[in-house]
């Protein structure tokens, strides 16, 4: 197996402790007719090898946009990144050339999308789409690439891979299609996988299978995983830490058990309360009141204040910083102590 012009695998000697990926103060805005939509407003998070970070938040909170910025697949324009750093293995990807970034995509960082049916090319066989990774990035022949594609399909446990390698996406079930997406992301054994709501489009029965497969492969290859979801239920079993997003910012980040035990931000608390629970069957489900803000007119102060049951005057004027809570967590709430203490 020959690897053509691979970028250096060896970390710089002075950066052995740097996280695999570190996003610092990332801002993304969209210039639209209605004004500037500030989709991402200073996001910070980091992932280490073998670690799973769950990014959680309501629809529209900027989860996908920040992930696409990391991946380098935002359409610019309309998107713009006015500020921020995205350090991958210690190097800022925002300062790299387009060609350099392209070579990271697929080889070092891969992405899995929500809707596998629309995310796979309808007119190319899955074997072609899988094999393409090897043909383009490693210069393999058509025949060798096909053999590798079959191997991949076996890995993600698609039955009769040899017979089905020439089939097209529409001939597979939803769960199988998402397995193919996972296989494609896995092809070059990247260091980091970003999975954007990988199970949201699937039947409940296959959601768990696909999630288990993803978690298992992540452990096996010791990859970093960013798992984007709006479903707190999915996260508990697989994530190491959680970053909760609201209106383009991280409002709370913490190890997974801390958050479940004691949320330090009223928004996280609201999300936790709105999970259906067996012991509360029959009771009306809690829902956070109101709607996420219009991103062209984000409220001053804490963006969550119009919906927050604990909001005070200071919340409408001062933007809360991410206060450290203990050693490994943070909460962007003026009243994080009160929130924790209840």
């Amino acid at each position: 197996m020959t690897v053509i012009d691979d970028i250096s695998d060896v970390p710089a000697p002075d950066a052995p402790l740097a996280p695999l990926l570190e996003v610092r103060d990332l801002h993304v805005e969209f210039h639209t007719r209605d004004g500037v939509a500030k989709a991402v407003n200073g996001v910070n998070y980091s992932v280490n090898a073998g670690e799973t970070l769950a990014v959680l938040g309501e629809s529209g909170s900027g989860k996908s946009v920040s992930a696409q910025a990391v991946m380098g697949i935002l359409d610019m324009p309309p998107a713009r990144i006015p500020k921020g750093e995205i350090l991958f293995q210690g190097r800022d990807m925002l300062k790299m050339s387009g060609e350099e970034r392209r070579k990271i995509r697929g080889r070092k960082i891969a992405m899995i999308f929500q809707d596998a049916l629309s995310s796979l090319n309808p007119v190319l066989s899955v074997g072609y789409q899988l094999g393409e990774m090897y043909r383009v990035h490693q210069g393999l022949s058509r025949k060798d690439a096909k053999a590798k594609a079959i191997e991949l399909m076996d890995r993600v446990r698609i039955p009769a891979a040899k017979e089905r390698v020439g089939d097209y996406p529409h001939q597979f079930s939803g769960g199988m299609r998402q397995r193919i997406m996972i296989a494609m992301a896995l092809a070059l054994e990247p260091e980091l996988i970003i999975a954007d709501e990988p199970t949201t489009a699937l039947d409940v029965t296959v959601q768990a299978q696909v999630m288990d497969l993803l978690a298992e492969l992540q452990r096996e290859y010791n990859m970093g995983l960013i798992l984007i979801t709006h479903d707190l239920g999915v996260v508990a079993d697989v994530a190491d830490k959680i970053a909760v997003m609201y209106a383009g910012r991280i409002v709370e980040d913490a190890p997974v058990h801390d958050i479940y035990a004691k949320p330090a931000h009223p928004y996280t608390k609201g999300l936790l309360q709105s999970i259906p629970r067996l012991d509360q069957k029959g009771q009306e489900l809690y829902a956070i009141k109101g709607l996420p803000p219009n991103l062209t007119r984000i409220p001053s102060g804490c963006a969550f204040n119009p919906r927050c049951p604990m909001a005070q005057d200071v919340c409408r004027t001062d933007v809360p910083a991410l206060h450290p809570v203990g050693t490994a967590r943070g909460s962007a709430c003026h009243f994080w102590k009160e929130t924790l203490g209840e």
Binding site: G106, M111, S119, P122, L124, M184
Partner: protein, 307 residues
């Protein structure tokens, strides 16, 4: 795929019979062909009766059609008004019209798709706006106007090309008529391609292709174009019939002796065999063109192939 082809071929049989029977009835069944043959003169009853017998004119129309078709399949299309076999007319006229149609089709497909792809990739920029404006102008002017105008300027006034097409319709003489014939279709192809390309550049699967780290060229050629061209191929295929019909008009402008000329002669001289013969071949060409499109469509889009 094999079963798909056979099914499509079988479907062509009733369409062929239906259309040719219709034209046969219209030409032979309305009016008196014997009287028409003699024009102003009145034939003596004995001759008329003999002709009726010879052409099976006393039999029911459906039987006449049957007799005609069995002759056609033996390569006998009957005789034209001047006793020339219709097959000879077919042999001289069809290559000319087909060549004109092919020239127009190639111009339409190559230039139309190229303009559409580049406009679609540069949405909202100067080139795109230019293509939109130009195609709108082309679409809104009738073909015979563009035909006569181009013929006047390029052929007569500036003498860049021959104003009319010479004997045997050489290829270089057909460029101008081909362009005129292709004009409107070319504009539609360019617009359709542009829209399709623009739609596909926003598609999820294209985002995946970029996320895979594929080079831009590969993303566009291997992933986007194939999908974008599916509706364009369908349009091009169905447009072959349209082009052939348009060719009959273009032939008159540029004085080309093709199918249009012969059908016109056949009508003027009341020669049913000529008209029916030419139309029968026209129907066959339409059907084959449609078959070709359907097959190409199935090759391009696996969702059709396995439906």
């Amino acid at each position: 795929m094999g079963r798909y082809v056979i099914r499509r071929l079988l479907q062509m049989v009733p369409v062929f019979i239906g259309t040719t029977l219709l034209i046969f009835v219209m030409v032979w069944g309305l009016g008196d062909p014997v009287a028409a043959m003699f024009g102003d003169r009145t034939p003596d009853p004995a001759t008329a009766a003999q002709i009726r017998l010879e052409f099976h004119l006393n039999d029911p129309l459906i039987q006449q059609y049957w007799i005609y078709m069995s002759h056609v399949f033996e390569g006998d299309f009957g005789k034209a008004w001047n006793q020339q076999p219709v097959t000879e007319l077919l042999k001289t006229a069809y290559p000319v019209t087909l060549r004109l149609t092919i020239v127009a089709f190639v111009i339409e497909a190559v230039i139309g798709v190229a303009l559409g792809v580049f406009a679609g990739l540069r949405r909202g920029r100067f080139f795109d706006t230019g293509v939109l404006a130009m195609t709108l102008i082309v679409v809104s002017i009738p073909t015979f106007v563009t035909g006569y105008v181009l013929q006047y300027f390029f052929g007569v006034k500036w003498s860049i090309v021959h104003p009319s097409v010479g004997e045997g319709a050489p290829f270089k003489d057909l460029l101008m008529p081909g362009l005129v014939l292709a004009g409107v279709s070319l504009a539609y192809v360019a617009r359709l391609t542009r829209t399709s390309v623009a739609e596909n550049t926003r598609a999820d699967y294209l985002r995946t292709a970029v996320a895979k780290g594929l080079p831009r060229r590969r993303v566009i050629v291997n992933h986007m174009l194939r999908n974008s061209l599916i509706p364009v191929v369908t349009f091009l295929g169905t447009d072959i019939g349209n082009l052939m019909a348009g060719a009959l008009v273009t032939e008159r402008i540029f004085n080309i002796h093709g199918v249009g000329y012969q059908i016109y002669q056949g009508i003027v001289h009341t020669s049913p065999a000529t008209v029916v013969g030419f139309v029968t071949i026209l129907v066959i060409i339409f059907l084959l063109a449609n078959l070709l499109v359907d097959l190409l469509y199935a090759v391009l889009d696996p969702r059709i192939r396995y439906a």
